[in-house]
């Protein structure tokens, strides 16, 4: 009976076998198809990364090195002049990439660790634990985060560690909500039930069964969240409770040199000085958003249309 069934064999059934490609060839194909906005964004991010990593080699002067003339004008010696106590602004901009971006990355990572873990637990549990976490998060989100952060930082003191922990905790609420929302769709899948039936522990189900399947929205959120964290750190620094001197940081650089903007009518370059760290912040935010947009477009399946 089956002998003549046109040689049916299980192994011969047609499946959509994908060509095995290495990570690099896949990356090459993706890059080839990427829009110019994404390429621009990646270029900027790469540029910032190089600045941050090699800051001591690129910057002409030290981060906290003080020279004789405060508020020196732009010159060949001090490319963007010096600040109120005579530190080279160009060097501080380069070091600022390291400090501001570094702290923002650390904060975002911590926010994802906290929010992601609790979000997954809530999604798997779906009862008392979920309720407790979700309502707690509601309470946190009801308080304006900048003011909340200001209050907490003035209570605990503005150290870098406190800054990272406080902003991470406040931002993890949003990560929690996203993780919980996307994980709930995965938790109901049969393979999660199969893992439970097998007797797998919570850790395995979180890490191996759910997490790999919710990565794309989380990665996109990571980019966006990074921007917000970055902006809140800059804002806090601008307000004076963020990164403390003498550490170079873009937010406090804007504040310290803000008064220079009044001199724009006499010396345009001096007026531009406080805008330099501000545009450094703006440029990175835009660049990250470009890349995230492209990534979201690609993973949401919208990119399949020609």
């Amino acid at each position: 009976m089956t002998e003549n069934s046109d040689n049916y064999s299980a192994a011969g059934e047609v499946g959509a076998v994908l060509e095995k490609r290495t990570f690099w060839t896949r990356l090459k194909i993706d890059m080839k198809k990427s829009p110019w906005t994404a390429r621009f964004g990646m270029l900027i991010i790469l540029f910032y990364a190089i600045m941050a990593i090699f800051a001591p080699f690129i910057a002409p002067y030290g981060e906290a090195q003080v020279f004789a003339t405060p508020y020196a004008p732009w010159s060949s010696e001090f490319i963007f002049g010096t600040d109120q106590i005579g530190r080279d602004i160009f060097s501080r901009l380069i070091y600022g990439a390291r400090n501001t971006v570094g702290i923002a990355v650390a904060t975002t990572l911590l926010a994802f660790l906290i929010g992601g873990a609790f979000g997954l637990i809530a999604a798997i549990d779906r009862s008392y634990i979920d309720q407790a976490f979700s309502r707690l998060v509601d309470v946190f989100m009801a308080i304006p985060s900048l003011i909340f952060a200001l209050v907490l930082l003035s209570i605990f003191g503005s150290t870098v560690l406190n800054l990272i922990v406080i902003i991470a905790v406040l931002d993890s609420t949003r990560v929690f909500r996203l993780t919980r929302a996307v994980a709930i769709n995965v938790v109901v899948m049969d393979y999660v039930e199969a893992a439970r039936l097998r007797g797998e522990g919570l850790g395995w189900i979180m890490r191996k069964e759910i997490l790999p399947n919710i990565m794309p929205p989380l990665i996109a959120e990571f980019g966006l969240r990074f921007c917000f964290v970055f902006l809140s750190i800059a804002a806090l620094s601008f307000l004076g409770v963020g990164i403390q001197p003498p550490t170079a940081d873009w937010g406090s650089m804007v504040r310290e040199n803000a008064s220079l903007i009044q001199f724009a009518q006499y010396d345009l370059k001096a007026g531009l000085t406080p805008l330099l760290p501000a545009s450094a912040i703006a440029l990175l935010t835009v660049a990250v958003n470009f890349v995230v947009d492209w990534f979201l477009h690609k993973t949401s399946g919208l990119g399949d249309e020609q």
Partner: protein
């Protein structure tokens, strides 16, 4: 039914149609040069396994392609218009008015925010063919013709307020509303229970005959197509295998492939008498929240046999499986396995007990983590239950793959790269890896093509012989039950209606429900539906 020629003029003529789809950075052929001729008032059955290109061809008959696909060549001549050459803007004038489409899943195709009647008449009213009042009046007439309950008012309901079978009929009314020349039915009854399917099929057939509409009926169920079609076209790998009128196709298929499709249903197993009880459920009650879904369910399963649990959706068969596995603790009654009582909840049971009862799911797609390779999926139970690691593990994975008639090439593949049948085989291998005594098969073949179903059922039987496995086989498909089971349990609305040896259950006298269920299973006889309906009308 009449022969091809006297049905009227040619309505649709497709010549050498080629459709291709884009995936994995390349264009692939989906339909490779198919010809098709359909006259007014004719119903063509289009059958083939999944991936044969039947849905693509059905849509292409309307000049439509799914996103990522395109028509590469050929002609689609619809009543003198070559659809292959027109732009979408012009084709849109014909879509939904002169040609309509009935999708497989009505529940997913209706907009939940609008009333049924507004959706039924949307394209008719939009095209200006009828005024809103006339179209509504006409829709109520169609509801009556499709024997929907309360046809005057059912249109005022929202999609979630009617059942799946009713929704499928409303969709047929929607397709009928503009009085099209051509309707494409794309597996319209596949998602329905057998007793509902009979009603929907009768309604569809009647309405197509009344309005003398041409139709293309796409399905993989031969018995269904036998009731509906004037002639049948068999597709495979995007090419036509055979075309003939229904009767000669059923009695004398020419090609080997067609014959193999026909022979699937002849699978049979020698019945085994049940011996000592291996698994026994005694007076089980279970509920989801406050809704009680199982009432006093008692089932006996003997070692080394296959017990089929039959019933329609909502009958409580899957809930029974959840109670046995411990996912849903019962509110009353007890589960005994191999002479020992099983604790109610999963977390209280021992690892060893979990290992001995394994489960295979209906949808192999969702039963495997899409981010794990076949090797990881099968390897995990080995590592978890038996502590096998390293080269031992890879050796055992390979053995298991060979046991399910696959080979080592599959170890590195992801579930997305497997066909439906292969996926289900991997799920079987995962269950086998735990070296279980009892396997619960929850509708394992219902999402598969018939020829693949046969392969899976044979595999399960062979494994039972070799390894002495016991199966609890949950299904709604009577032909599967006939093929594989030793004992049969019929369930309806959370209760066991009948239970016993296969031959006894399939012999009259039947309880009322078993009778209805058995008589609703389509047979490979073109007159079956006609006879059934006249029989039921008399009774």
């Amino acid at each position: 039914m009449s022969s091809n020629s006297d049905k009227g003029d040619i309505l649709l003529e497709i010549k050498d149609l080629e459709v291709e789809g884009f995936s994995d950075e390349k264009w692939h052929d989906i339909v490779k040069g198919v010809d098709l001729t359909l006259r007014r008032g004719e119903v063509m059955g289009l059958i083939g396994e999944s991936g044969a290109g039947k849905s693509t061809l059905g849509l292409a008959a309307m000049g439509f392609t799914q996103p990522g696909c395109r028509i590469r060549g050929g002609e689609i001549n619809f009543d003198g218009i070559d659809l292959a050459k027109l732009s979408d803007v012009i084709k849109r004038r014909y879509w939904g008015t002169r040609m309509t489409y009935v999708a497989q899943s009505a529940a997913a195709s209706f907009n939940p925010a609008h009333r049924l009647i507004a959706q039924t008449t949307a394209s008719t009213v939009r095209s200006g063919a009828k005024s809103k009042e006339d179209a509504y009046q006409d829709a109520r007439g169609l509801y009556a013709a499709l024997s929907l309950p309360d046809p005057q008012n059912i249109g005022e309901r929202y999609p979630h307020q009617v059942s799946g079978g009713q929704l499928q009929r409303v969709m047929t009314a929607m397709a009928m509303s503009p009085r099209p020349d051509l309707i494409i039915f794309d597996e319209p009854t596949t998602a329905l229970d057998v007793t509902t399917q009979v009603e929907v099929l009768s309604a569809m057939r009647e309405i197509v005959e009344t309005f003398n509409t041409a139709a293309i009926y796409i399905t993989h169920d031969l018995a269904v197509v036998a009731q509906m079609a004037d002639f049948i076209k068999v597709l495979r790998y995007g090419k036509q295998v055979e075309e003939a009128d229904t009767r000669s196709m059923l009695s004398t298929p020419k090609e080997a492939y067609t014959k193999s499709l026909w022979s699937v249903r002849s699978l049979e197993k020698e019945e085994q008498k049940g011996g000592q009880s291996f698994l026994s459920l005694k007076g089980i009650d279970a509920s989801y929240g406050t809704i009680k879904v199982l009432h006093n369910v008692s089932i006996e399963v003997a070692k080394g046999t296959t017990v089929a649990v039959v019933g329609e959706s909502g009958s409580g068969k899957s809930t029974t499986a959840r109670v046995i596995t411990g996912l849903l603790p019962q509110t009353a009654g007890s589960v005994e396995f191999d002479g020992k009582g099983l604790l109610k909840s999963l977390s209280e049971r021992k690892k060893e007990e979990k290992r001995r009862i394994q489960m295979i799911y209906q949808m192999a797609d969702t039963a495997m983590n899409p981010r794990q390779t076949v090797g990881e999926i099968i390897g995990r139970p080995l590592e978890f239950y038996l502590g096998i690691r390293g080269t031992q593990k890879s050796k055992r994975v390979l053995e298991l793959l060979e046991m399910i008639e696959l080979n080592g090439n599959f170890i590195q593949r992801l579930p997305g790269e497997l066909s439906g049948g292969q996926k289900q085989r991997i799920c079987i291998a995962r269950a086998l890896a735990a070296e279980p005594d009892l396997i619960i098969c929850d509708e394992v073949t219902s999402a598969l093509d018939q020829i693949v179903q046969e392969g899976i059922l044979k595999l399960l039987m062979r494994l039972q012989m070799e390894l002495g496995l016991t199966y609890l086989f949950i299904t709604h498909d009577i032909s599967t039950v006939k093929a594989i089971s030793d004992q049969v349990v019929v369930m309806n609305q959370g209760e066991v209606v009948e239970q016993g040896q296969k031959t006894d259950v399939f012999q009259p006298p039947h309880p009322e429900y078993t009778k209805l269920l058995l008589s609703s299973v389509p047979e490979m006889d073109p007159d079956w539906l006609t006879n059934l309906n006249s029989g039921r009308r008399e009774a």
